[in-house]
Amino acid sequence: MDSIDIGLIVSGIMLTMVFLGMRVAFAAALAGLLGLVWIFWSKKGYDPDEFIWALGVATKTAGQVPHSKIANQALSLIPTFILIGYLAYYAGLTKALFEAAKRWLGWLPGGLAVSTVFATAGFAAVSGASVATSAVFARIAIPEMLAEGYDKRFAAGVVAAAGTLASLIPPSAILVIYAIIVEQDVGRLLLAGFIPGAFSAVIYGLLVVGLALTFKNFGPPVGGFSWKQRFQSLPGALPILFVVAIIIFFIYNPFGGDAWGTPTEGGALGAFVVFLMALYRGMRWKQLREALLETAKLTVMIFTIIWGVLIYVRFLGFADLPGVFSDWITTLDQSPMLTLIYILLAYAVLGMFMDAIGMLLLTLPVVYPAVIALNGGEFVSAADSAFGMSGTACAIWFGILVVKMAELCLITPPIGLNCFVVAGVRPDITVQDVFKGVAPFFIADALTIAGLIAFPAIVLYLPGLLLGIS
């Protein structure tokens, strides 16, 4: 039995275990460990006397992965971003944002829904977590929309869908995870998420306006705000801009010269500003302790999957499964673009049953090298490539595409968590209502993804302009 067969069997065992309910992180570690033992033992011709030796070498190979891969300063962005997210709820930013958005955008058809979309997008700039964002805005925005006579399902759908914007707009924990797994620069990916995130928000906004114009009494505008009231609403929302500016300045200095530091430092400074605001708004040790425990829990969850998957990746390196998969996918008799679209569709289906982070981490070690190979390899120039972009640009572009696909899984039935959260906050709205209300946003997301595929410049413009990637 050659190493490819071992790779396939072990990956099959991993998927079976995931299906049986084993925690994803441990299923990946199990697969990695089992695969390493098998590979080492096969080299000794399955001699029973050598089994203990193989077990020892495999265990020691796997045992160094957690510490050596996690003690990495780039990874410290993940806990910092998670901490910002939890502190942001105590900093009173959500209401201020919604109020400002309402005064500036409320006059549009479906004005309150448009305001919800943009207030959520703004909040996403300090929070990387979609589900919690939906929970907060369900509490703030839905009552106001219902009071104005908005359709119940529409109001709930807007909140659930808008929550997904958090995963593209920096600081996005999921983009950092992608960058780590595919070994790309974290700053570039965070920067690249900016315009696609805003683009998604604009598409959502247009959809809302279109729906409000089409259906009578669906979402009436709210008017009557003076310019004075509009400007008065801005200071409360300013800290968001400040945090965004800090993070950007630490990746790229618009005034020329070096960036002010590393993205890690930028994230930490942003967190500190939000922390000071939360203190000012009355956060004390009890709330801080709660936020720290939640941060610790979510961080550990993410890191456990990361090292678990990296043990699996270590084994995959020996089994060369990614290489074989890449060879197979590049020799398919169809256009690379079609293959890419199939891959993205497969993610949409997988996302209906799996959590976004687990789905990406389990699949990327094999899928990512294949996509890069489709484009023509890691070091291909834009001119020679299949998708018209360099290897590095392709890594960034594909990252944004898969993260957008992963967002979708938060609002697709049967387990779209954002929809359950909105229904959980509002006892008068059933999950079925939310899933119905969110359905039009699938069209918006399909348009967004088509746009990102047809015009990669939406993703690559900012990294290209600022960091010179073609």
């Binding site: 369900a138 930490a268 687990g358 049967p414 387990i415 959260v421």
Partner: protein
């Protein structure tokens, strides 16, 4: 995917051990959280020192790399107790009674075996860095200011060891449930359906919005 589960308690030995271990795990998790917070403070000090006083913090990156294992590993058992490690429960969520407990017992036993091996592997990784005869007992040190690396490496098998204790308690809990066939076993995370998971998620951010 369930990230939220509820854990039942009573006054059996298993439940007492469960709660005693949970106290210890909570302490470890809080240390992890405080480490994240310290990371933030450290960055603020480093940036302020470099830009305002032209005095960069020596060994800033070294300290981050020391803090990361604290952040990434010490809470692993706490997260396991609360059922916080993500999994796909679309199949097991449909199982009931003894079949469910048998599936949970099987996967938990396998995870226990994996983690015991990893305690060994991670301890071997620590031993390669540790030497009582060397300065700071350390064979390797960080690049910038020469911090010994063995304490951070030792954290990994220790945290994994605590997780093994937790897994043993869960094996015990699922085993008891399998034998008795009870629908409400103690000391193990129960699968929450999507609705109650969502309610718990919503509760973590409730009551925070003021003014």
């Amino acid at each position: 995917m369930s990230e939220h589960s509820s854990i039942l308690t009573d006054d059996t030995w298993l439940s007492r051990l469960d709660r005693a271990l949970f106290k210890f795990e909570s302490l470890l998790a809080l240390i992890g959280g405080i480490a994240v917070f310290s990371l933030m403070i450290l960055a603020v000090v480093s940036v302020a020192g470099r830009n305002m006083f032209n005095q960069p913090l020596p060994g800033y990156v070294d300290w981050i790399e020391q803090a990361m294992p604290l952040i990434a590993f010490v809470g692993i058992s706490y997260t396991q107790r609360l059922g916080g490690h993500i999994r796909m429960d679309i199949l097991v969520g449909r199982l009931r009674g003894r079949i469910l407990w048998a599936a949970e017992l099987l996967t938990t036993l396998i995870v226990l075996a994996v983690m015991l091996l990893l305690v060994w592997g991670a301890f071997a990784h620590f031993l390669r860095a540790f030497d009582l005869a060397a300065p700071n007992w350390s064979r390797d040190s960080s690049l910038d200011i020469g911090l010994p690396l063995w304490p951070a490496k030792l954290l990994v098998p220790v945290a994994f060891g605590v997780l093994c204790l937790r897994l043993i308690l869960q094996v015990w809990g699922y085993g008891r449930a399998l034998i008795s066939g009870t629908p409400n076993p103690i000391a193990v995370p129960l699968i929450a359906d999507a609705a109650s998971a969502a309610a718990a998620e919503a509760a973590t951010v409730s009551g925070l919005e003021k003014g």
